[in-house]
């Protein structure tokens, strides 16, 4: 598989063409949080419905390249309905996957990411080969982390 085919896997193109969980939730009760990539113009807005320690529902709007859009769609599918500690763990695991190239550069081979834990999200690992695209893949995840922090402190 070429690097390009590895980057644009069918599952990524599928989520780009048919994004999951598009839309808005009423605020309140949902919490709204926005994320931007000013360098490339990508935008994502998340609506988070947190109840009893569970991310009961998540919706999103925004626009951007296939990597940012598919990553946010895959993320929403992975975290919807999950307990907050599971959501945090998934965020950590995904961020580890995206910083894998740094670990490889430093030859810290003990940094291993459990790909099984990531499920469909593992399709995004091809992004790591293209460092300038990592910020596309992590936009929604950084926005989600920020949103959950805002919910927990409000």
């Amino acid at each position: 598989m070429s690097n390009l085919e590895n980057l644009y896997r069918e599952i990524i193109l599928d989520h780009y063409r048919s994004p999951r969980n598009r839309g808005e939730l009423a605020t309140p009760p949902a919490h709204k949080v926005e994320g931007f990539n000013p360098l490339c113009g990508d935008e994502v807005t998340l609506y988070l419905d947190v109840r009893d320690g569970v991310l009961a529902d998540i919706k999103m709007t925004g626009h951007g390249c296939s990597i940012s859009q598919s990553s946010s769609s895959l993320m929403s599918a992975a975290v919807k309905g999950k307990a907050l500690e599971d959501v945090q763990a998934t965020i950590d695991t995904f961020k580890d996957l995206m910083t894998g190239h740094e670990a490889a550069l430093k030859d810290e081979s003990d940094v291993e990411v459990d790909l099984r834990r990531l499920g469909e999200l593992a399709a995004l690992q091809g992004v790591v080969k293209f460092p300038v695209r990592i910020k596309c893949a992590t936009l929604a995840w950084n926005t989600l982390r920020q949103g959950l922090e805002e919910v927990s402190t409000s």
């Binding site: 644009y8 193109l13 490339c40 113009g41 390249c65």
Partner: protein, 184 residues
């Protein structure tokens, strides 16, 4: 203009130069310094405070010599010929699929072509083109209000230089087909 990064030239008339105050103090830009003030040096030296970018200056000199050796008129003609060819082929091969942002006639046009590919984000266009060895600039090109005016988030921008050939445009068109078929 093929030179190093971080260096440029400000060209003014000598009479205007004398009326322009220095914006930065440092070594080499003074005629005299007193406890109550200073007198800046005459001429361009007043704008060249501190250690100059020596390597960049030598590099810029080499670039200017190279371009003058080719002849700026020859470069403009070459650029123009490639631009006419590329615009013509883009319009005939990609009508309705690729929008050219900017003038379609080549009278007052440089060798830079901004593209909006239907259904494909500019960063994805650039990624596929990169695989074909074609380097374009995706983004808003430091012109966000203009992008908004055209209803775009970004464009993919191809440009020609003295070293470009029509065969390079062949590859650009082939890569655009590949990008469209991948995301279409």
């Amino acid at each position: 203009m093929l030179g190093p990064t971080g260096i440029g030239v400000l060209w003014t008339r000598a009479s205007v130069l004398e009326s322009m105050p220095p914006f930065l103090g440092g070594g080499g830009m003074i005629a005299d310094v007193r406890l109550d003030g200073f007198t800046p040096a005459k001429g361009v030296a007043r704008f060249e405070a501190g250690t100059p970018p020596i390597a960049e200056t030598v590099g810029l000199h080499a670039a200017v010599r190279y371009l003058v050796g080719l002849g700026m008129d020859n470069i403009a003609d070459h650029d123009h010929e490639l631009t006419v060819d590329a615009l013509t082929r883009l319009e005939s091969n990609f009508a309705g699929r690729v929008r050219i942002v900017g003038p379609h006639d080549t009278k007052d046009r440089g060798g830079v072509i901004s593209l909006d590919v239907e259904g494909v984000h500019p960063h994805d266009v650039a990624q596929v083109l990169d695989e074909f060895g074609v380097c374009v600039r995706p983004g808003h090109h430091c012109a966000k209000p203009l992008m908004r005016r055209f209803g775009l988030a970004a464009t993919a921008r191809a440009s020609f230089g003295p070293y470009s050939l029509k065969a390079d445009t062949d590859v650009l068109l082939e890569a655009l087909e590949a990008a469209i078929s991948m995301f279409g």
